[in-house]
Subunit: 236 residues, 2 copies
DNA sequence: GCTTTGTCGATTGTCGACAACATACAATTT
DNA sequence: AAATTGTATGTTGTCGACAATCGACAAAGC
């Protein structure tokens, strides 16, 4: 029974634990958008890369309609741009846009910090993603560190208890994630990245608004070493 | 030649001033989205109103594909929501969402004020829309007042010189516009609405950050008399 | 040789049809 | 009478085809 395939078969035939949970339907357009988004924000599809409907439809073995709709989803994510009648491509990154993206992110995260402290919100929930980050960093696992980082920040935004802020942050975080994947900075030790989050937690716990805001501002400040040319050229 | 139809005909036949400017192509989906958006943000289509692709396609004499795509545009505008396999409707308005919408708007406009003052930006451009608003208010023309108000605020955001902020503000302003149209508050004199903008201009001109921020914060604060039930019931 | 025109192939935008899904209501069962 | 099942209808999701547009390249003209 250690054979994975046989394991699945055994589960399907095992009436003692039937899986009768609701079946989630996901339209093709959503599935396609998820895959393309994943490719974009991990840097697999580069800024400027052309998205050709017919090619994607053939490659993914679907018709063009859901491809079109998926691309439109990515357009609303801010990851793709369309020129009518001409085509669609992964949105290029400019220094200006990177700067602006990080500035908006900073605005949102500082707002979250302010709301958490003003609302006297318990920030215990931040410890889990923080611990996950430290663990990943110590194991040299960059991907898990990035995932933990995202969980940390999303938890923080959730704690601000403002649905529109969360939605707006989610949207911009895709771009942030893409930028960070493309930048792929190997110069900062992973452990430093992880442990940088702890002082923020402490300031929040102490309700020290000024310190929390300063720490978060510093933590989310715009990167100023971004070179778009290097990113387009460097497929690594 | 004072007859508008004949005037157009004369222009078309008048080779002395041919119109050879670039022809702008607008895909159907964009045209449809524009019309639907207009209907939504002016309150003609109510929150909760169901959007049926087949009916809209028939009514507008197009096929369903551009309708679907147009609706998706409106979804990314935040004006429409989709439940997969079930349908699409104009997004309902909740008190929470109205509050949050105005809070985010405030965040953006205060950021613009900060950037303008920090950058020493000339705000002369705000006078034109302001004057237009006063003129409209004195003429009792609510629509022109609203249009002028929008121009005032968009100009302000433009002066902040931050593309992502402008884009984000544009997006949220649609919802703001819709909320204001639905609220249709007749209690405040139009002239007061218009003239409220002048102290903001003055504070910006004087580079008085504290005053400008306070004025803008007050100007954009969340409405707290919003009743979603009344809006759905009141088709006026 | 350079510029302009024409043709072709690839792609995008839209169309109408089919399959899949959801809901309302009638018919049947308990 | 209430609950369950079956059927019909309307709508959404996807498909493949046609029309419109674009760009590359060859051919023709200067």
């Amino acid at each position: 029974m250690s054979d994975p395939v046989s394991g699945q078969m055994a589960q399907a035939l095992d009436a003692s634990t039937p899986d009768l949970s609701p079946i989630e339907q996901t339209p093709l357009k959503v599935q396609i958008a998820d895959r393309l988004r994943r490719a974009i924000i991990t840097g697999k599809m580069r800024p400027g890369a052309v998205l050709v409907e017919t090619a994607l439809a053939e490659q993914m073995n679907v018709s063009r309609a859901p491809i079109r709709e998926a691309i439109q989803i990515l357009e609303s994510d801010g990851l793709v741009e369309t020129v009518a009648y001409k085509g669609k491509r992964v949105k290029p990154l400019t220094v200006r846009e990177v700067t602006e993206t990080f500035e908006m992110r900073q605005l949102y995260e500082v707002l979250a910090v302010r709301r958490i402290i003003a609302g006297g919100v318990d920030v215990q929930a931040l410890h889990r993603p923080y611990a996950d980050m430290v663990e990943a960093a110590e194991a040299g696992d960059r991907e898990s560190l990035v995932a933990g980082d995202e969980r940390f920040h999303r938890t923080l935004i959730r704690l601000a208890d403002h649905d529109l802020l969360l939605q707006t942050w989610n949207s911009i975080y895709m771009r942030v994630h893409q930028i960070m994947a493309l930048r792929n900075d190997r110069k900062v030790p992973l452990v430093d990245i992880a442990t940088n989050h702890l002082p923020i937690i402490h300031a929040l716990e102490k309700r020290d608004l000024e310190k929390a805001v300063a720490l978060m501002s510093e933590h989310t400040r715009a990167l100023n070493d971004f070179d778009p040319a290097r990113i387009v050229q460097d497929p690594a």
